[in-house]
């Protein structure tokens, strides 16, 4: 992997469109004083190393059975639903509702082929980490330079 590889913006065009809309709606992306609207997506972080792509999403309150991870070619689709606890209880009075309470579907377009059958997903303390091994053909290869 070249040390100064640039983020391929064209591949993530759909994602940027979504992100721009979230930023506009709340004036500032991410946390701080603005809460990202979880209705259409959980926030994700994506990074990679030599052999894997990692996707991490914060999905507090979800259990493994509430979540779905699908890999189709170069697309990763995250689905989830968090049922609202206490929604219909009698005599209950909500003073504040800031947490997300709905279903989501989010698709991410990768720029590398991955081995779909070796993808792992781990959920711990509301953090989902997906590890996608890169396909052999996609890994960088050191070419030995031989002198004449």
């Amino acid at each position: 992997m070249l040390a100064n590889r640039f983020f391929p913006l064209t591949t993530y065009e759909d994602l940027r469109g979504e992100l721009d809309r979230v930023f506009d709606a709340f004036g500032r992306g991410g946390r701080g004083l603005a809460f990202p609207n979880m209705r259409s997506m959980p926030a994700v972080n994506v990074w990679d190393d030599e052999g894997h792509i990692f996707i991490e999403a914060e999905v507090p309150g979800m259990k493994m059975e509430d979540l779905g991870v699908e890999v189709l070619g170069r697309e990763v689709r995250l689905t989830g639903s968090r049922t609202t606890e206490h929604e219909h209880e009698e005599g209950i009075n909500f003073h504040r509702r800031e947490r997300a309470h709905s279903t989501f579907t989010r698709s991410l377009a990768l720029d590398t082929d991955v081995e779909a059958d070796k993808v792992k997903a781990v959920l711990k303390d509301g953090v989902l980490t997906i590890t996608l091994p890169k396909a052999e053909t996609a890994k960088a290869r050191r070419i030995e330079v031989k002198g004449a």
Partner: protein
């Protein structure tokens, strides 16, 4: 108000300050609801641990602080997309004095902290019988 500020300052003073990387603090989203005998808070604290969460109730103020270690080395990791940062969480609320402080319970599961604040007897809703002539 002055009292609240004092509490925050003193709790920060007792925490170790030596850090290699700058640590950010985020505001945690919260749901608060009330039933007849209890006030309940649900706080999203993904990636925290039960032993690194501080919940304090003092003079009518409930404060929650969670210390969260970065999960990756943020200097060397090559992020392709970064929508959130990983850091500590902080939140305080004025819940008033009508809480039975000795019976406050908090548990942390699946990234969500639930704090149960039972109301003190004096403030529970009471049906008053009306006697007629």
């Amino acid at each position: 108000m002055t009292t609240t500020c004092d509490i925050e300052r003193s709790s920060k003073a007792t925490q170790p300050v030596e850090r290699m990387q700058p640590r950010r603090t985020y505001v945690a989203p919260v749901d608060i609801f009330e039933v007849a005998d209890e006030l309940t808070l649900l706080v999203d604290l993904p990636g925290a641990r039960a032993d690194s969460i501080d919940v304090n109730y003092e003079l009518g103020t409930l404060s929650i602080h969670a210390t969260v270690e970065p999960r990756q080395n943020e200097q060397t990791t090559k992020y392709l997309l970064r929508e959130y940062g990983v850091g500590d969480f902080d939140r305080s609320f004025q819940v008033g004095e009508g809480i039975d402080a000795t019976h406050i319970r908090a548990d942390y599961r699946d990234g969500v902290l639930t704090v149960h604040l039972p109301k003190a007897e004096a403030v529970k809703p009471r049906k008053i019988a009306v006697s007629g002539s």
